[in-house]
């Protein structure tokens, strides 16, 4: 009986040999690429327009955001360590690295919340002009994705504590990992486009 369940859960004997869940996650991430692609395009279209009021380029602090970007990128390392831990059956290390990844993610999100708060205090809100609108929307969508990732990491942590995450289900960690790395990679693009490329005169 148990083997039947495994066959259903793990998509054994698929045409490609890859599990359904993993293919599904890749297809989902492909879709997400276009989501962020459209948001980034919107920002690129508007970033050089002549507007009144403060723009992100006038208020952001590149060294500050560089540090929080570094924190987010390091979380990809801890995510890989978490996956490696469950694959060798080390559940204690799995939980350690899951929590570490979630904490790094939360640090990044806290940094974004602080940054947004300061911008608003400086007088740049999402309504100020079209550059501010597309800045807050793009980085906000990314922040929402990181937040969902943190929820998934904490869920994995809870499932592991509860004994619902045996070695055979290591793929669940791998799937969350795929999503997490994707969100990190997108941040590299956003950070470059929004913060690093200077505004053309």
């Amino acid at each position: 009986m148990a083997t039947h369940i495994k066959a259903v859960e793990h998509g054994a004997a698929t045409s490609t040999g890859l599990s359904n869940a993993k293919l599904g996650m890749w297809a989902f991430l492909a879709s997400e690429c276009l989501l962020f692609g459209a948001l980034i395009s919107t920002f690129l279209l508007y970033r050089d327009r002549h507007v009144t009021g403060l723009t992100p380029q006038k208020v952001y602090d590149i060294p500050y955001t560089s540090v929080s970007s570094f924190v987010l990128l390091m979380s990809s390392l801890t995510m890989v360590l978490a996956l490696a831990a469950i694959q060798r059956g080390d559940h204690a290390k799995l939980r350690t690295w899951l929590v570490a990844t979630a904490l790094l993610g939360m640090t990044f999100i806290s940094g974004q919340v602080y940054e947004f708060t300061r911008f608003v205090q400086d007088g740049m809100t999402i309504k100020t002009n079209v550059i501010a609108t597309s800045f807050f929307t793009l980085t906000g969508f990314h922040g929402a994705h990181v937040t969902v990732g943190i929820l998934m990491l904490l869920s994995l942590f809870g499932m592991s504590l509860d004994g619902r995450l045996p070695v055979e289900r290591a793929e669940a960690v791998e799937l969350v990992g795929l999503y997490w790395h994707f969100v990190d990679i997108v941040w590299i693009v956003i950070f470059t486009v929004v913060y690093l490329i200077p505004k053309s005169s």
Partner: protein, 644 residues
């Protein structure tokens, strides 16, 4: 099942204690909790048909208003709501879900699988579609339906009178449904094929579903971003399309049509797939140039991304952009034309039987060709300046979307009805339906070409006499009521068939693909033994061999495990050369584990409209919606997909 006394060995999951797992196999609850792709397919089909009737009524109101000059059947405001909702309904609530009904029901059967890759996700797609449609329609009683046109151009869409809040959120919910369904079908087709069912042995309908899935996966997020931007502008006062704050409203047009043109192929490719199944069966010949038809479909899928600005020639993008998109638009007519010639060549020299599915398929080819040709005239930029926003455009897209998609889908309904229900729709009534619909369709939309070239703009709620528009508008309205009559004939056929239709048997059309190798309607597990496929059209080759002169020779009983009776007779699976699998030694269907029903897809989907109402009206509902979604998702994640 919440308190299973003795857990099977090796099962590492704990049982939940919140809900008992649904177990009903009949009655309303069995449908609400079902994860069976065939039942979900039927739910999709019936729901989409209901919306088809509603969208049709909207069309009749529009045509009644325009039947005579200075019409006063509805007000201008109501007219704007009607044409907007008619377009949204027919595209998002009829053609897409009706195609999804066939994807659901037929794809696993055609590739020799027992279900889709993610059965519960499949149920979620359906419920999100249903709730998204109901949410969109609830706007009529909650302050007015969307009235800014189905492509919702900014800044008109941001006028309060356009009521586009419901448009943005409704399409977001429907987009979630379609994205999830597309991921599900892409994975199913990549990963769930029976042994031997290589990609180039897949039926063309499966191929077209595959292409459509990828189009949806890549096109919908672009629309999603546009809808979020529209909604943020409307609800939170952002500036995405506010010119005074530095914005460029043409951004919306690019985002919309970058989604919208692949969407056109999302609407037509499933119908092309259906026609590619129906023509060979009723010509008793293999599809002419199968690989070419498949590659044309793929080519259309790729090229569909490079033509979107032909919807925007009059915007003023400049001569370079206009010329580039004019060329790519003319170029995409090539693979489309290739397909049409392949279909004609399939018919050529065939032993043609003019049954209702074939009639609708032929109607598709003829009407779609007319629509395709008028489409090529839009690709000529100077001509398009003349045609933009006139009834010529309305004529064009109804020839491809009604004459194309809807005729193709009706062909599929007549073709697969016996497989889904076990009963044959009446041929005589079906033919009346076809001819009434074909004549009514051409009377309705043919004159619109003339009206458009005479300069009648689309989306005007009334027109004065003396422009030379009166006669053809009258003809068009008569035609629309003829179409409505044909739909009543179809409904009569359905009711009659359900009551006293003829039993169909497993293979009433002497068809070619795997779904016809199992009983009608199929058992819940589809295949007693998973078939092994050795060729394209496996079911045909299980029935017929080729004689020395190239003539068909029925395979004799016992030969290669094929059918033990003549062609067309009801028989047990005989699909290709041999069959393997767990076997059903324990008796019928035993030993085959199907995914268990579940409440959670419904709960998760229910959270979406609650959240959407919350975003419009009250924070309380936002919280409720998020909690409902989370309960659904966590219950889902913690529940094994199949009970032991």
């Amino acid at each position: 099942m919440a308190t299973v006394a003795s857990e099977p060995e090796g099962v590492a999951y704990r049982r939940r204690g919140v809900f008992a797992r649904p177990k009903a196999t009949t009655g309303v609850w069995s449908w609400i909790t079902t994860v069976d792709h065939k039942r979900i397919g039927k739910l999709y089909g019936v729901t989409a048909f209901m919306f088809f009737l509603v969208g049709g009524l909207e069309a009749l109101l529009i045509r009644s208003q325009l039947a005579r000059p200075n019409g006063h059947v509805v007000t201008a405001e109501a007219y704007n709501e009607l044409f907007t909702m008619h377009g949204l309904t027919m595209i998002f609530l009829v053609v897409m879900p009706l195609s999804a009904a066939f994807f659901n029901y037929m794809i696993p059967l055609m590739i020799g699988a027992r279900d889709v890759a993610f059965p519960r996700l499949n149920a979620f797609s359906y419920w999100a579609f249903l709730f998204g449609g109901l949410f969109l329609y609830s706007s009529f009683v909650l302050g007015g339906a969307p009235a800014g046109g189905w492509f919702g151009y900014a800044p008109l869409s941001e006028q309060p009178a356009s009521h586009m809040h419901f448009y943005a959120l409704g399409l977001l919910i429907l987009g979630i449904s379609s994205t999830v369904a597309a991921i599900n079908f892409a994975v199913t087709i990549i990963n769930m094929r029976a042994p031997g069912m290589s990609l180039m042995r897949m039926p063309v309908f499966v191929w077209m579903t595959f292409v459509v899935s990828f189009l949806l996966i890549f096109a919908l997020p672009v629309l999603t971003v546009g809808l979020f931007e529209l909604f943020f502008d409307l609800r939170f006062g952002t500036n995405f399309f506010v010119v005074a704050k530095g914005a460029d409203p043409v951004l919306w047009e690019h985002l919309f049509w970058l989604f919208g043109h692949p969407e056109v192929y999302i609407l037509i490719l499933p119908a092309m797939g259906i026609v590619s199944e129906v023509l060979p069966v009723f010509s008793r010949k293999p599809l002419f140039g199968y690989p070419v038809v498949v590659f044309s479909g793929i080519a259309i899928g790729f090229m569909g991304w490079g033509v979107w600005a032909h919807h925007m020639f009059a915007v003023g993008l400049g001569p370079v952009a206009n010329s580039a998109f004019a060329l790519s638009t003319m170029f995409i007519a090539v693979p489309t034309g290739v397909k049409i010639f392949n279909w004609l060549a399939t018919l050529h020299g065939g032993d043609i039987r003019f049954r209702t599915p074939l009639l609708f398929a032929l109607g598709f080819i003829a009407m779609f060709t007319i629509g395709g040709l008028s489409g090529v005239t839009h690709a000529v930029v100077p001509a398009d300046y003349q045609q933009t926003d006139t009834y010529y455009i309305v004529a064009h897209f109804h020839y491809v979307l009604f004459g194309g998609s809807i005729f193709g889908l009706f062909s599929g309904i007549y073709y697969w009805w016996p497989k889904m229900t076990g009963k044959l729709l009446s041929e005589a009534v079906g033919k009346v339906h076809f001819w009434l619909m074909l004549i009514g369709f051409n009377l309705t939309f043919g004159p619109m070409h003339i009206l458009g070239l005479q300069g009648m703009p689309r989306r005007i709620y009334t027109y004065p006499s003396g422009r030379g528009w009166n006669f053809w508008n009258g003809v068009s309205t008569i035609g629309s009521f003829l179409i409505a009559t044909s739909i009543l004939v179809f409904l009569g056929n359905v009711v009659w068939t359900i009551r006293r239709g003829k039993a169909a048997g497993a293979d009433p059309w002497d068809a070619r693909t795997l779904e016809w190798s199992i009983p009608s309607p199929p058992p819940p597990h589809n295949f007693d033994e998973i078939p092994v496929v050795a060729s394209i059209d496996p079911h045909w080759h299980a029935k017929y061999a080729e004689g020395p002169e190239g003539e068909l020779v029925p395979v004799v009983a016992g030969g290669s495990n094929g059918p033990d009776q003549g062609p067309g007779a009801e028989h047990h699976p005989g699909t290709g050369t041999q069959a393997h699998g767990e076997g059903d030694g324990d008796g019928h269907g035993h030993g085959i584990h199907m995914p268990s029903p579940s409440y959670f897809p419904l709960i998760a989907a229910l959270g979406l409209p609650i959240l959407a109402y919350g975003l419009l009206f009250s924070t309380v509902f936002i919280v409720d919606g998020v909690i409902t979604i989370l309960v659904g998702l966590y219950g889902w994640a913690l529940e094994p997909s199949a009970e032991p």
